[in-house]
């Protein structure tokens, strides 16, 4: 366990060196949020107070919170780094180290993501107050409940990206699959809460990982309730267990298939 804590510590210190580069990503984030806010302001401008249970303010806060997870978990560690390690053959040097490679990647990803996530969270809260004012009916309990839910959401995003990257054992480039995944989450989790979709689509989202990584965490902050908290946690735990099992199987099969030429 100590070696994994050491990985987290060193990656965290390393990530702090690159905080300034995140400032430039802030511009892209703020511009996108401004455009989406303009769109929703226009939609609500005809006097529509509430759309499918969301006021303008709640809609913007939903967008910001869901985007925070999406942008905050955009670390390269779980995507390009794993893909490049496999493609370049460097994985051969990683599997004989005295740690589990997947455990190593997860620790590194979580440490790297912590800095990014906190950065985007602060920015989002600022933008939220500017664009939409305070959250209506905000319950302070949601902050406490939000901590494990957001941590698990980030962890699940990382596990999904690691799983996609592991396909590099078989396909030449897993990047296109990462793009497909990002777009699915953006369309069905970030841009709109599940109430905005037809019933069938909403039900599919409810039982998909999107519930635990996008809709659930954002909704919990907006409309806290004990029941919602429990249902999100259960969904997240099941998703994590299933993902870990699949990753373990895929990784074992991938390593067996590995054929690296020495040089």
């Amino acid at each position: 366990m100590r070696k994994y804590l050491f990985i987290i510590k060193t990656t965290f210190i390393d990530s702090l060196q690159y905080v300034s580069s995140l400032l430039f990503r802030f511009c892209g984030f703020a511009i996108m949020m401004y455009v989406l806010t303009s769109l929703w302001r226009y939609i609500y401008s005809d006097g529509t107070g509430v759309i499918n249970g969301y006021t303008f303010s709640k809609m913007i806060w939903y967008l910001l919170l869901a985007e925070t997870i999406s942008f905050g978990s955009g670390s390269n560690v779980s995507s390009s780094e794993v893909k490049d390690t496999i493609k370049s053959g460097n994985i051969a040097y990683q599997i004989n180290k005295p740690y589990n490679y997947i455990g190593y990647v997860v620790c590194k990803y979580m440490a790297d993501t912590f800095v990014r996530f906190m950065f985007f969270l602060v920015i989002s809260i600022g933008l939220g107050f500017i664009f939409a004012g305070a959250i209506e009916g905000f319950n302070y309990m949601s902050i406490l409940a939000g901590i494990p839910v957001f941590i698990f959401a980030i962890l699940i995003v990382g596990l999904i990206k690691i799983l996609i990257s592991l396909t590099s054992f078989w396909v030449e480039d897993s990047k296109p699959f990462q793009h497909v995944y990002n777009k699915i989450v953006l369309m069905f989790g970030v841009f709109f809460p599940l109430e905005m979709f037809p019933k069938l689509v909403g039900t599919i989202i409810r039982y998909s990982p999107i519930y635990g990584i996008s809709y659930g965490p954002a909704k919990l902050i907006l409309d806290f309730s004990g029941g919602l908290f429990r249902s999100i946690l259960i969904s997240q735990l099941i998703t994590m267990i299933v993902l870990l099992l699949i990753i373990k199987t895929v990784y074992r099969r991938g390593v067996k298939k590995l054929n690296v030429n020495g040089g």
Partner: protein
Amino acid sequence: MFLSFKYNLMRAMENNVAFMTSVIMMIFNNASFIIQWITIFSLKEVIGTYTLNDVMLFWALSSGSFGITHIFFNGITRIPDYIEHGKLDAYLTMPKNVLCQVATSSLEPSAVGDLLYGYIALIIFNFSIKNLLLYSILIIFGGLIYAAFMVVYYSLTFKYIRSNYFAESLRDVFLNLSLYPDVIFSKVLKILAFSLIPSGFAVWIPVYMLLDFKLKYMLYVILFTIGIITLAFYVFNKGLKNYSSSNLMDARS
């Protein structure tokens, strides 16, 4: 220019699978936003006076123009890197215009997907022979405006190192303004879209033209395109006078 394009395309297609994957993924990427608009139009019947088909014109024109720029003039995106690392030296010795050489020095494979998607969106949502012909002309103007806009802001690197971050932020604004209907934006942004960040001339006016063609709109676009291209050459050439060689030993690929 066409010779550069030919060689750039040959280079990009060297790995056929990677090239095709980039193209297909870009089409998928752009097409995924149809879901966003179908959902929005299920909540509100029209956005301003625009229906779903009309909004898809913004997407078709933006993708098409973006595709044209990054297929033919993708080298513009490398201007800051060339300036900062003294890589312009290789182009200065050639008996051709430096900006033209730099602009046509590379091709972005995924931009082929953007261009194809533009046509697909037009054919699915707004097909007519007239639209197809007009669209093919308008994306050329849109692409030229977008390319010239990038040259102007990327040329700031001649004066201010690392100003490319600022230019890239403006590029994001340009793209975001292009992809959404004009009616959702405030007056200030609309003024910007017809001046400092000219998405209005590159995409909004072409959308008006496809919906209801007026000769005066065409004249605005042609005149603005000539103006911004002239400005781009002026700013780049003026900046080039500030450029100092790094004595970098490099060969053009």
